[in-house]
Amino acid sequence: MTESDQQDQAPREVLADVMEDGNEAAFRERGREFLLAFYAALRNLRLYPVENVQVQRALDEVENSAAVLLEIEPELEVRVAGEFIFVNSTRLRLALDNYSTFSYILTTLHECGIGALHASVEVERREWQVFLALLLSSASAEVEGDRFAELEKKLAGGGVTHIEVEAPWESTTYEDAEARKRAAKRTYEQSVAVTQEVINSVRMGRTASVKKVKRAVQNIVDQVLQNETSIVGLTTIRDYDQYTFNHSVNVCIFSVSMGKRLALSKLQLYDLGLAALLHDVGKSRVPLDVLNKEAALTDDEWRIIQAHPWLGVLTLFGLRGYGEIPYRGIIVAYEHHMKTDLTGYPRTIRQRNLSVFSKVVAVADGFDAATSRRVYQTVPVQADQVLREMWENRRRGYDSVLVKSLINLLGIYPVGTCVVLDTYELAIVHGANPDTTQLNRPVVRVICTADGSRLDPGPLVDLAEVDANGAFKKSIIKVTDPGKYGINPSDYFV
C-alpha cells in the first residue's frame, strides 16, 4: 500500500464508521484521538522550544487528527461542560487510560475561561501551533482581568482566524473562581454538619436523616467533578475539636477524587462517597472519654477503639431499614482497617475479598489521619512523609496501586503542604499539577517573599513553568512545618 493509499484509507474508515454506527461512534473514537494529540502537543510545547522535533511531530498529529474529524463535518467543536468534554456534541467517555489527559485539557480550558473551541476546514497547521502556544501561556500566567478576552485578542493578533473560542455556557457565577470556592465551602460546611448530626444522633439514640447524608455526598461528588481543586483544598482543614467530623468529610473527598481517577461513573462515585463519609460512624458508639483520651490508651480502651469498624456495621444496620443504607457502606465500615492480606482488624473467619471501595477508603483514611493533629497525635506528620511511608512501607497493608492513585491526585507535595522555594520564598501547595508528568511541581501560592515579607494572599505559581532557556523558574527545596512559622495552611483555602 502506498503512502497516499494509506492517507486515503483513514477517511474511508471514518466514513465506514459513520455509515455503520452513525456519527457518534466516529466522533467518540476520532475525538479521543484528537484530544490525545492535543494533549501531547501541549505537553511538548511546554517542555521544548517550538522547533523541537517532538513538538513538530505532535503538531502534525493535531493537524491530522483534526482533519479526520473535519472530513465528517465541516466544523470541529470541542466543548467543555462541567467535568465532560464533548466533540461535536458527542460526550467522550472518561476511562482509566485517558482520565489524566482529559483532566489536563479540561483544566487548561477552564483556566483560560474557554467553554468551547471551533475549528473550520480551512484551519492551518500554523494556526494550531499559535493557538496551542497561546493557550499554554494563558493558562499558566497570573492574569489580571478577563483571561478569555485577552486570549481572544491574542488569537486575532496572531492571525488565527479559523479557530475560534467561546466562553462557557455556565452561568457567570460558575465562571467566577470566588463563587466556585464559595460553593466548595458550602458543600464542606454542610457535609461536616451532616456528619456531626448523624454521629450525634446515633450517640443519643435518635434517628438520623438519610436524606441529608445523601445530599451531602451528592454535593461532594458534584464538587469533585466540577470544582476539584477547591474542594480538595478544603481537606487541609484539620479541626482539632471536630476531628471525627472533618476527617469523615476529608476521607469522603479524597475517596471520591480517587474514584474519579479510577473512572467510576457518577453514581458509583456516590456509592463510594457515601461509604467513605460513614466509614467511621462506629465511633459514635465509642465512649467519648475513650475517643478523646489524651493519655496513652489501656489495652481495654484500645480494644474499644479497634471495635469501631464493626460497631459501624451495627450502627448502619440500625440507621433505618435495609433499603436505605447501601451494603457497600456497611462493608467499607467493616473493612477499612483491614490490610490487603486481611490482617489488621477486625479479625475475619470466613473467606473474604476486600472491596476496592474499602481499599480506597483505607488509603484516604490513612493519609488524612496521619496528617491530622488529633488528641493523641498533637504533631501531625508532614503529608509528603505520610505518602512516602504509605508507598514504601508495604507492611502498612495499603493497596499500592491505590496509593499511587492518591499520589496522582495529590502530587508528591499534597495540597496544603508548606514549602520553601529555591528563591527562598515560602509557599503553600495549592493543588497538584494538572499535568501528571509534573507531580513534583505543584501549583503553589507564594505567601512570603525571600526577605520575610508576608503576601496577602500572594500569587499562584505553577512550578512547572520554564524560562526561555527551558529551566524551571522556581523549585521546591524544602518541605517545612507550617507550625514553625505560625501558618495555618487551611486558612488559604477557606
Binding site: 475479598n353 508507598w391 512559622y485
Partner: protein, 564 residues
C-alpha cells in the same frame, strides 16, 4: 393586549404557557396511567409536541420556581394556589428554584423528569429521598436546575483561624527570614524532603497491568453478591464477639434480615444464612444458652407454617421467580416443622417450577423425620393426606403401615385407594397383613390394588380370601380387569394345587356341569399361566386345540407364552 411598554408585555409567552400546560397535564397522566396506556402515550406525545413552538423562538428555556407559580421572563406561565395540586410547590418545597431545558430534552429526558416529579410527590416525609436526590441520580444532560439547600441556615461558616497569617498576625519579617535560613541550611541534603528521584518513576501514571487490575477490581465490586458479603461479616462477628449485648444485637439483625431477604426473593442468601447459623452453633465460643436458643430458632422460624405459607404463596403467584437451583438450596434448609406446610401446599401449587423442588424437599424431610409424617397423617385434611400418602408410597416408609391400615377404613375411596397403594408400595409382611382387609373393600380399584400386591408378594395368608372370591359369587358382575386380578392372584398363591380348580373352569364343557362364561374361562386360562407348571401347561394346550371363542383363545395363547 395593549403595549404599555412594560418588559413583561414585550414577551409573547403563549408558547411557553402552552408547554407548561401540557407538561402539567402530562404529569397528571403519568400519575394515573401506566406507560402502555393510550392516554399516557398521548400525553407524552403532547408534551413532546409542546416544545416545538418554543424551540422555534428560543434555544433554551429557563423557568423560575416560586411557591405557587412558574415564571418565565417575568411572566407567570403557571399558577396554582392549592399546594396539594401545585406542581410549583412540589418543586419549591424541596428547594428547586430554577428549571432549565435545552433543545433535545423532549426526546427522552422530559419523560424521565416527569417520572421523577411523580415519584417525589408520593414520597413520605421521612423517606430517604426527596426531589433533589432523585433529580441528581438521573444525571440529566438537557435539564438543569438550581436549588437551595434547605435546613442549612444554622451551619457555621468556615473561617480562617484567628491565629494564622490570614486573620491573625505574622511574625516580623526578620524572624521569618531567619527561620527560612535555618530551614534551608541543610537543603543540600535535607532529611525530610521528598525528591522526585527518590520515587519510582512509574508513579506518574498507572501502567497497563495496574489499569487492568483496577478495572477488574471495579468489575468485581459491582458483580459481587453484597448480601452474602454482609451476611458473612455478621456471622464472623457473631462467632467472634463474646460481648453478650453485641451478640444479641447481631442475632436480632440476622433475624430481621430473613424476611427482608425473602421479600426480595434472595433465596440463595437465606439458604446461606441458615447453613452458616449451623456452623455458628458448632463453632462459636462461650455462646450463652439464650443466644444458642435464639440462633436455633431462626431456621425453625422459617419452617413455621405462617412464614413458609407466605413464601410459598409468593412463589405460587409468581411474585418471585427464582431458579430451581435457588429453590432447591432454600428448601434444602427447611426443618421438619416445615413438612406439614409443604404437604399442604403441594396439592394446590399451580406453579410447576416450584413443585419439583418442593417435592424433593418433602421427600427429604419425610424420610428423615417420619414423626412429622405421622403427625400429618393423623391431623391433616384430605388433600394433604393424599399427598402425604403418595409421599409414603414413594419413600416406602414402613413405620406408617399401621396408620395406613387404619386409613383403609375411611369412607373416602380416594383415601382408601392411596392407603392401599402405600401399603402395596411398602410391601412388608405387616403391610400385606393390613392389605388383606382391602380384598373385600367396597371399591373395585382398592380391591384390585390389594389383590395384585398380595399375590405379587406371595402373601399366602391371603389365599383363603382370594379363593373364596374366585369360587364365590363376588366376581359374577365384576369387569374383566378385576376378575383377571383375582384369578391371577389365585394362580400365584395356589400354585399347582390350583390347577384342579381352574382346569374345569377353562374347559368348554363338562359332565353335569354348566359351561362358564368366556370372561371367567379367559381368567382361568390366565391363572393357569401364572401357575405355569406342566399340568397347567397341558390343560392350556388341550383347551387351545378346541377353543373357538376369541377372548378365551387369546387368553390361552398369552398364558402359554408366559409359561414358555
Amino acid at each position: 393586549m395593549t403595549d404599555t411598554g412594560t418588559p413583561e408585555q414585550l414577551v409573547d409567552s403563549s408558547a411557553v404557557e402552552n408547554l407548561v400546560r401540557v407538561l402539567v397535564k402530562g404529569l397528571r397522566a403519568i400519575q394515573l396511567y401506566l406507560p402502555n396506556n393510550p392516554i399516557y402515550q398521548k400525553a407524552v406525545e403532547n408534551v413532546r409536541g409542546g416544545f416545538g413552538p418554543v424551540w422555534e423562538e428560543y434555544t433554551e428555556l429557563d423557568i423560575y420556581v416560586t411557591e405557587s407559580a412558574l415564571v418565565w421572563e417575568g411572566v407567570e406561565v403557571y399558577s396554582q394556589e392549592s399546594k396539594s395540586e401545585s406542581v410549583a410547590w412540589v418543586l419549591f418545597k424541596d428547594g428547586v428554584r430554577t428549571l432549565s431545558f435545552e433543545q433535545g430534552v423532549e426526546d427522552e429526558e422530559i419523560v424521565a423528569l416527569l417520572e421523577v416529579i411523580k415519584q417525589a410527590q408520593s414520597l413520605p416525609k421521612d423517606a430517604p429521598d426527596d426531589l433533589l436526590t432523585l433529580l441528581w441520580e438521573q444525571d440529566f444532560q438537557r435539564v438543569r436546575y438550581s436549588a437551595v439547600e434547605l435546613g442549612a441556615e444554622g451551619i457555621a461558616p468556615l473561617q480562617p483561624s484567628d491565629s494564622g497569617w490570614v486573620r491573625g498576625t505574622a511574625p516580623e519579617a526578620e524572624t521569618i527570614k531567619k527561620q527560612i535560613a535555618e530551614d534551608t541550611q541543610d537543603a543540600e541534603s535535607p532529611s525530610g524532603i521528598v525528591k522526585i528521584d527518590e520515587f519510582d518513576g512509574t508513579l506518574y501514571f498507572l501502567d497497563e497491568a495496574e489499569l487492568k487490575y483496577l478495572q477488574e477490581e471495579i468489575e468485581r465490586e459491582y458483580s459481587q453478591d453484597l448480601r452474602t458479603n454482609v451476611l458473612s461479616m455478621l456471622f464472623d462477628l457473631t462467632e467472634l464477639q463474646t460481648y453478650t449485648a453485641v451478640r444479641a444485637e447481631l442475632i436480632s439483625i440476622t433475624e430481621n434480615f430473613i424476611p427482608y431477604l425473602l421479600g426480595v426473593g434472595d433465596f440463595r442468601s437465606v439458604a446461606f444464612l441458615l447453613r452458616e447459623l449451623r456452623s455458628i452453633l458448632e463453632r462459636a465460643r462461650e455462646l450463652l444458652p439464650e443466644h444458642r436458643k435464639a440462633i436455633e430458632q431462626l431456621p425453625a422460624r422459617l419452617s413455621q407454617s405462617d412464614v413458609l405459607g407466605q413464601l410459598l404463596q409468593s412463589l405460587d403467584e409468581a411474585v418471585l421467580n427464582p431458579t430451581e437451583d435457588e429453590l432447591s438450596e432454600l428448601f434444602g434448609e427447611l426443618q421438619p416443622e416445615a413438612l406439614q406446610s409443604v404437604l399442604e401446599w403441594l396439592p394446590r401449587l399451580s406453579n410447576e417450577s416450584v413443585r419439583e423442588p418442593l417435592e424433593r424437599a418433602a421427600l427429604r424431610l419425610a424420610s428423615t423425620h417420619p414423626d412429622q409424617v405421622t403427625e400429618t397423617l393423623e391431623t391433616a385434611e384430605d388433600p394433604v393426606l393424599l399427598t402425604t400418602m403418595r409421599l409414603i408410597a414413594r419413600l416406602k416408609l414402613t413405620p406408617f403401615v399401621p396408620v395406613l391400615g387404619t386409613l383403609l377404613a375411611r369412607d373416602d375411596v380416594e383415601i382408601r385407594k392411596e392407603a392401599a397403594n402405600g401399603l402395596a408400595a411398602i410391601g412388608s409382611p405387616g403391610a400385606m397383613r393390613e392389605l388383606e382387609k382391602a380384598i373385600d373393600d367396597g371399591d373395585r380399584d382398592v380391591r384390585v390394588v390389594a389383590v395384585r400386591a398380595l399375590s405379587e408378594r406371595g402373601h399366602r395368608a391371603a389365599f383363603a380370601k382370594v379363593e373364596a372370591v374366585v369360587n364365590g359369587k363376588m366376581l359374577k358382575g365384576a369387569e374383566l380387569t378385576e376378575k383377571t386380578a383375582f384369578f391371577e392372584a389365585y394362580g400365584l398363591l395356589a400354585g399347582s394345587a390350583g390347577v384342579a380348580t381352574l382346569k374345569p373352569m377353562l374347559e368348554t364343557k363338562g359332565l353335569l356341569r354348566r359351561r362358564e362364561d368366556p370372561e371367567t374361562r379367559a381368567c382361568a386360562a390366565m391363572a393357569l399361566g401364572k401357575i405355569g407348571d406342566e399340568e397347567a401347561a397341558a390343560a392350556l394346550r388341550a383347551a387351545a386345540a378346541e377353543e373357538k371363542d376369541p377372548l378365551v383363545k387369546n387368553a390361552i395363547n398369552r398364558a402359554l407364552r408366559e409359561i414358555t
